[in-house]
Assembly symmetry: C2
């Protein structure tokens, strides 16, 4: 287990957070929701390996850790946000954590967020950090993935820090707006973690001259981190970017995109560089059918993959040349070639993404003016090995 | 491609069918819905390999095949139900099919349905046939799976034949009732085929003395076939039987069961004989959370696996002895041990199920009196190989 401490030089009133909508959330989520009512936030204490979900006395244990951190930093426990990720069902080793905490303090430094980004990971292959400069200050965010990722109006563990002075109320209005098209528009495996958290904290050191510019920069950091989370999703070898256009409304568009990136047979086809676009059409029809007749008008449906038209006027638009081009597009977006292991336990053959390309899918509904983009991954032997061959 | 012909000695008015709710259905589904209005059904012509979905002139091609079958049997094309399963997006090879049809006729026989059950399969490992005797006659059903299986108010290809005389109106009232708790309560991979069909045909040769007994027998045939479809689901090594009890209503219960059998991380844990019940709790919480606060009351949730209590009073009820017993239960339900292949392409190591055991999961909501049982499978390397390593 790694303990990660993010401490402000001075506690701030300007912080915001959104949490998982999973109906059986972890103890840190229950506490975090209460912390939103506190006047100040001074630190975030994060552990990996054990998520502290539905464990006996889970809330009391997390509060004990917060109290110990508060004692060390000389701030109240109520100014500490706890966060945990890892196995669901196990209890936190409270005594060992309390013993270890004093050793964490000397590690605090102000030069790099990299140790924190490295400290919070579980099955992630690499740390995820994104930064934007805006108005003389900056926004920096870190995230952990890598499985149980389909955030539902909240997300995985993400911490975003800024020196730009943005008041609490503005941060809290802004965070849901930027989370919608970023963390809420991704899915690795359709599973929603019990620990999802996005926290946004302003130290207030640089005056904010342009709130809209700040929000735009924040949106960029969130979108970039969200794509990072998918690119490093468990077993992901292809990132899928599904752009839905001319939809009746944004929610319809986003849900349709989610249905596509969560369709296991289409995900498997992508993993195999197989342009089996029949499975893409199946996924769209499944979703529309599940909503009931007439809920989504597919009569004007047009589909492209890698810029190649594959469906229009109610029928497929395919030929052998297009299929070859689709295979080439799929291969160009592959992050690494799968290596057949002697022991059957597949592992990702990269430790850092070699490129930022995606399998580009465009779904034009032709019935409105709304749009959304959803990011997802393929379904691979590496995912199954990660999740079936040992406990993570 | 195999062509399978099911022909009645005399056309019957007594037939029923339910079809996929996928919003982009195949040409045979579009035709089949019209056939329900026809006065009589005389035959069903089925091909595998190509599903005839959204292919140019797909309906015209299927009608051509029906006309040719009608000519051979001396009945109108409108008395022929066409059915296709296989790759989505390709066109049927109409000319070759028409040339082959005359050779199908001599194969018609009345002794065994096995050739038909073998003829309709695609990635299935074995034919699926179930039979019930009732009131001096019998009901026999055949089914094909094995992937793209989460029927939505209809199902995969299933043909149920009976000599019991049950009028058309009664058959059509009965079929949706028996399909609900059988084919609509299973999922292999959450994907809904564009070709799902259940057809029920009575030859009327044996008078029906007890309609309720007939419906009960029909329900048994459907439930047995539905479980067969999952047990032979692509890559399935463990069948999961999720019994939801004390739920507020049956739909809530069934949807919760579906959420559990479709949760990829839990499915992977089962595949690995890993009693990672945290992922089961995650799946339940994800589903309840996605429906919105208060939609499902989880305050009285009790969970058992293999008869062992694992969750009650808001916390896990686990200890090392229980974990060992859970592993033993998972292993006892495994259909075969996975064999690591030298070329990385996993294949099922059985050609017929060695037992009918399931991973038994019980979800007691404690808030009502409704119940439902949902059947699903695990997520394995065999599934990924089947669907990523070559086109099926």
């Amino acid at each position: 287990m790694t303990l990660t401490l993010i401490a402000l030089e001075n506690p701030t009133a300007d912080f915001a957070a959104v949490f998982t909508r999973n109906a059986l959330p972890g103890a840190p989520i229950l506490i975090g929701r209460q912390r939103l009512d506190e006047p100040q936030l001074g630190a975030i204490i994060i552990n990996n390996k054990i998520s502290n979900v539905c464990a006996p006395d889970g809330v009391a244990t997390a509060e004990k850790v917060c109290a110990a951190v508060g004692d060390l930093l000389d701030i109240p426990a109520s100014a500490i946000l706890p966060s945990s990720t890892g196995v669901i069902g196990w209890s936190l080793p409270a005594e060992k954590m309390l013993e270890s905490l004093p050793a964490v303090l000397p590690g605090l430094q102000r030069t790099s967020i990299l140790p924190a980004a490295e400290g919070i990971v579980t099955t992630d292959l690499y740390p995820k950090i994104r930064r934007a400069e805006v108005g003389g200050g900056s926004i920096v965010g870190i995230a952990k993935g890598a499985g149980m990722i389909e955030p539902n109006l909240a997300t995985m563990l993400v911490y975003i820090l800024t020196d730009i002075a943005v008041p609490r109320a503005a941060l809290r209005a802004m965070l849901p707006r930027v989370v919608g098209p970023s963390f809420n528009s991704i899915s690795v495996d359709s599973d929603t973690s019990t620990s999802d958290t996005v926290a946004l904290v302003s130290s207030g050191q640089v005056p904010c001259e342009d709130l809209a510019a700040f929000e735009a920069a924040l949106a960029t950091v969130c979108s970039d981190l969200a794509e990072d989370v998918v690119r490093n999703g468990e077993g992901v070898r292809h990132v899928l970017r599904v752009a839905i256009s001319n939809a009746p409304d944004e929610i319809t568009a986003r849900q349709l995109g989610k249905a596509v990136v969560n369709a296991p047979l289409f995900k498997c086809a992508v993993a195999g560089n197989d342009p089996n676009v029949g499975r893409l059409v199946q996924a769209i029809g499944k979703h529309a059918g599940s909503l009931g007749t007439g809920s989504i008008d597919l009569s004007k449906l047009r589909l492209h993959m890698g810029g190649i038209e594959i469906f229009a006027n109610g029928v497929f638009q395919l030929n052998p040349q297009k299929e070859q081009a689709l295979v080439a597009h799929l291969k160009s977006a592959e992050l690494y070639a799968s290596i057949v292991p002697a022991d059957g336990i597949y592992a990702a053959a990269v430790d850092y993404p070699p490129h930022e390309r995606c399998v580009e899918i465009s779904i034009d509904l032709g019935t409105g003016s709304a749009a959304a983009t959803v990011i997802g991954g393929d379904l691979t032997h590496e995912y199954v090995s990660e999740n079936a061959d040992y406990r993570s």
